[in-house]
């Protein structure tokens, strides 16, 4: 680095005080020195000129008066003349010597007390024709101005007069001047020092105070005192109502920059102030205002953070925060820990999918797909909607299953894409649901009971009659023919099987459903229900037409719940048919058609009847609980509502095609089990 650059660098790194001091000093010194030199030059030159003038005047005077003596060769008179001239009053100090020379350069008279130095004669030679010659000569270590003037007699030069003026006079004058200037400059330096010190102090002190305060603030310590210039008793920011109550807006603070139509403040703002004063004072005031704004903001932020932290911690619903990229649980609130039975450290970092493996993973993954890396903020905003998954199976600690509703929304958590998941425990609701279904089932069982009694009576009767036959023959001592024997035995056995089947179907029907679904061929519940009701319906002159598909793919459901649904549909069909015609009407169409088939990833079961049908208004409401087209007391209107709920549980849907007077066709569409 060149010395200039180094010097500049050194200069840059000086403190402000020193900088100002040095700068001012430099400038002032420079100017002073310049002035000094200038003054000296002017003075010296003018003094010198002045002296020369005086010297030449003396020399001329001597030349005038001494001319005659020189012509007369009157040396004593000449000598006394020049001595008089030399010694006259103040000239004593000024004139070092006077000597006269003739035209040959011989010294005619001189005033020196010492021997006349030889070199002096030739030191300042007056050329012929020159009116004056001034030269600085050195006589015995003294600098003397030698002024030579010709001595003329008429036009002829008869000699020259040399007057030597000592420089010491001028020198002492200059010395005095120099001293004065030095003193002056020293005074200036001192004054400058003092002034710059005062000035910088005035600036530096508030600045370094501000710096100190800023350092404290940047370290998070907001409680330091903000006294800047002086104590100001009128300034009590704690009195501001907006500070104490974070709900209240502060006009000054809450201005949106874009809306700055006119900066508004409270009429008597306790907080923000601007005093009249110089820039340093104003800086101090603005800084104070800024710090208080920060305090206000921090206070609001802390309150908000506390509020939301308490919402998260004390929230009544379990909440998880799950990272989008690897589905690791980033946070969980205490209610979630309670519900799932884990400790916090066990849950953090665990994969969310491990809590619900049968949960449709695709839902979360499709969610993640919307804000996949590289998708950008726009898609996140678009996908800032939420997903809702009802009745999802989750596992508590120890692999205990239970049902929840899952509500997931995307958020940004610490700069990463995350999902916030709220989980609602619906175990109680599911149990109530199950109880309701069970109650509906009991009602169905009640309805079935007449039919069941009749159905069981038939096999019992056949068994009884067969055994009565054998007993009779035995009583009468007759032998049983082989054929008859075989018939009886076969019949008894067959009828027992039939009765057992009915009883089994009944028992399965009454059982509460397991929590896990099973793979069910829909034909099975259809035939089970028919076993119980078919005969009864046929007694009512209702015929069945069955078109059951073969090798149907299974659906995920519960067998006995499907039976409940089918039973409900069949009783509704029977009731509809009975509304349209009587069992004794011979020609009336009294037909129920049951079809099952599969296609397109679905399995479809349809129950069609030739009953009274449903018109449009009723068709939409038929699944509502407690809605019934039957007369009062004939039904609660819950059967279809429960059936609807059961079908929806298995991911299926119910469709109705019907018109008034034209019967109805109800289709149940189930997704095939994977």
């Amino acid at each position: 680095m060149s010395p200039v650059r180094r010097a500049l660098a050194r200069y840059e790194s000086l403190s402000l005080k020193n900088k100002i001091f040095l700068s001012i000093l430099g400038v002032v010194l420079g100017i002073s020195v310049a002035i000094a030199f200038l003054a000296r030059y002017i003075l010296v030159s003018s003094l010198t000129a002045e002296l020369e003038l005086r010297g030449s005047a003396i020399a001329h005077s001597v030349a005038e008066r001494g001319g005659a003596y020189v012509l007369d060769k009157n040396s004593p008179m000449l000598l006394s003349l020049i001595f008089d001239e030399a010694r006259l009053h103040e000239r004593k100090n000024l004139i070092a010597y006077i000597f006269v020379t003739d035209q040959d350069g011989l010294v005619l008279a001189h005033t020196m007390t010492r021997a006349f130095p030889a070199e002096l004669r030739q030191a300042n030679v007056l050329e012929p024709g020159e009116s004056r010659s001034v030269r600085l000569v050195n006589v015995e270590q003294d600098s003397i101005h030698d002024i030579a003037v010709p001595m003329n007699e008429g036009l002829y030069r008869i000699g020259s007069v040399h007057v030597g003026l000592s420089k010491s006079h001028i020198d002492s004058l200059i010395a005095t001047l120099r001293l004065t200037f030095l003193g002056f400059i020293s005074a200036i330096i001192l004054i400058t020092f003092y002034l710059s010190d005062r000035l910088t102090r005035h600036i530096i002190r508030p600045l370094s105070k501000l710096t100190r305060i800023s350092d404290e603030l940047s370290r998070g310590n907001f409680d330091i005192s903000l006294d800047m210039q002086e104590e100001d008793e009128r300034w009590r920011p704690m009195d501001c109502p907006a500070y104490a109550d974070t709900e209240m807006p502060c006009w000054h603070f809450d201005q949106s920059a874009r809306q700055a139509v006119g900066h508004r403040t409270c009429e008597s703002c306790v907080f923000y102030r601007k005093r009249q004063g110089d820039e340093v004072v104003q800086l101090g005031d603005s800084f104070r205002n800024m710090v208080w704004s920060i305090k206000l903001y921090r206070r609001r932020l802390r309150e908000s953070e506390e509020k939301y932290r308490s919402l998260f911690d004390s929230g009544p619903d379990p909440v998880f925060v799950v990272d989008c990229t690897d589905f690791a649980i980033k946070d969980a609130n205490p209610r979630a820990l309670e519900l799932y039975g884990y400790e916090k450290h066990e849950l953090l970092g665990k994969s969310y999918l491990s809590l619900g493996p049968e949960n449709r993973d695709d839902c979360l993954l499709s969610f993640a797909g919307e804000d996949a890396p590289g998708a950008g903020d726009e898609s996140l905003a678009a996908a800032a909607g939420c997903l809702y998954h009802p009745k999802v199976l989750h596992y508590k600690k120890g692999q205990r299953p239970f049902y929840v509703n899952v509500h997931a929304c995307s958020i940004s958590y610490r700069g990463r894409h995350a999902i916030i998941i709220s989980v609602t425990d619906i175990t109680e609701m599911i149990e109530k649901d199950a109880q309701l279904i069970q109650a509906g089932k009991m009602k169905s069982l009640g309805e079935m009971s007449a039919g069941i009694a009749h159905e069981l009576n038939q096999p019992l009767n056949a068994i009884k009659m067969g055994s009565e036959f054998l007993a009779l023959l035995d009583e009468q001592g007759r032998a049983v023919s082989a054929e008859s024997y075989r018939q009886v035995v076969r019949e008894i056995s067959g009828q027992v099987d039939r009765a057992a089947e009915i009883i089994n179907t009944l028992r399965a029907f009454g059982r509460k459903a397991e929590i896990f679904k099973e793979r069910v061929d829909v034909n099975h519940p259809v035939t089970s229900v028919l076993t119980i009701v078919r005969r009864q319906f046929e007694l009512d002159n209702i015929r069945f037409r069955l078109e059951l598909g073969e090798n149907l793919p299974p659906v995920l459901a519960h067998d006995n719940r499907l039976q409940q649904v089918f039973f409900n549909l069949l009783t509704n069909a029977r009731d509809a048919i009975n509304e349209r015609s009587q069992p004794t009407d011979m020609g009336a169409p009294r037909l129920i058609t049951i079809e099952t088939c599969a296609g397109g990833g679905f399995v479809v079961v349809s129950v069609s009847d030739t009953g009274v049908g449903l018109d449009e208004g009723v068709r939409d409401k038929i699944f509502e609980p407690f809605f019934t087209t039957k007369e009062t007391g004939q039904g609660m209107g819950l059967g279809l509502a429960i059936s609807y709920g059961i079908v929806r549980d298995y991911g299926g849907e119910i469709r109705i095609e019907s018109a008034l007077g034209r019967g109805a066709r109800i289709s149940l569409i189930f997704p095939q089990a994977a």
């Binding site: 009694a453 009749h454 009576n457 038939q458 096999p459 019992l460 009767n461 056949a462 068994i463 009884k464 009659m465 067969g466 009565e468 036959f469 007993a471 009779l472 023959l473 009468q476 007759r478 008859s484 018939q487 009886v488 019949e491 067959g494 009828q495 046929e538 007694l539 002159n541 004794t584």
Partner: protein, 234 residues
């Protein structure tokens, strides 16, 4: 001679067992799976006794009963009812069914019903509609046999008058084991007994098959009259 009997029931196993059992009692069994078929066969074969189930598809037992009675008013039609279903039995009786059987069918009940039916047939053949009035020590007995129907009414009324004229302490209505009272019969019996009570006559009932005892209970006759305390010899 193989007596012919028609069984109408929609349950094939039941028909099979009936065939065996009735065969053991010496009957030639005709079977029909529903009422319409049954009426058709009856018309063709004219069996003496018909056993019919009530709840059947196409045509139920009640309708078949009506049709058969139209064809042959004296036909013995025994309805088979579900266990303890008295309402249905009485409804059938109102339509001139002559007896009823309970399911599950026991051989004792079956054989009794069959023999009663045979007796009634015999009585009907011999046209013995009259009601005998027999004098006893303390009471006078009215012997009722076979079918007690609307036709019996004038006879019974006359017999009652005769009995009352005798002035005995008690009037006994002696039902034979084979007595079958149809709806009409029940109706006029009820009015008869009410009249007797109003008159102040002491009337009691004797005999009667188990079935009809139950019927009397359900119909309310048991409230009007008590069973006789003493058994007559013979």
């Amino acid at each position: 001679m193989d007596k012919k009997i028609l069984v109408i029931d929609d349950e094939q196993p039941t028909l099979n067992m009936f065939r065996l059992l009735l065969g053991a009692y010496g009957y030639e069994t005709l079977t029909a799976a529903n009422g319409a078929e049954g009426v058709e066969i009856f018309e063709r074969e004219r069996p003496g006794i018909v056993l019919t189930d009530i709840k059947m598809p196409v045509m139920d037992g009640i309708e078949a009963l009506r049709r058969i009675k139209d064809l042959a008013p004296h036909a013995e039609v025994i309805v088979i009812t579900g266990h303890g279903d008295m309402e249905l039995a009485i409804r059938a009786l109102n339509l001139d069914a002559t007896d009823f059987l309970n399911k599950p069918v026991q051989r004792q009940g079956l054989s009794q019903a069959l023999s009663r039916a045979e007796e009634r047939l015999a009585i009907a053949r011999t046209h013995k509609q009259e009601i005998a009035v027999v004098e006893e020590d303390e009471a006078v007995a009215l012997i009722l046999r076979g079918s007690v129907t609307a036709r019996s009414e004038p006879f019974l009324t006359r017999a009652m008058a005769v009995a009352r004229a005798l002035g005995k302490a008690e009037i006994v209505l002696d039902f034979d084991e084979n007595a079958s009272i149809n709806g009409a019969g029940l109706a006029f019996l009820t009015s008869l007994l009410q009249e007797a009570r109003d008159n102040g006559d002491a009337v009691c009932i004797r005999g009667l098959s188990e079935n009809f005892r139950k019927v009397f209970e359900v119909v309310g006759i048991s409230r009007l009259v008590e069973p006789c305390r003493m058994q007559t010899p013979g």
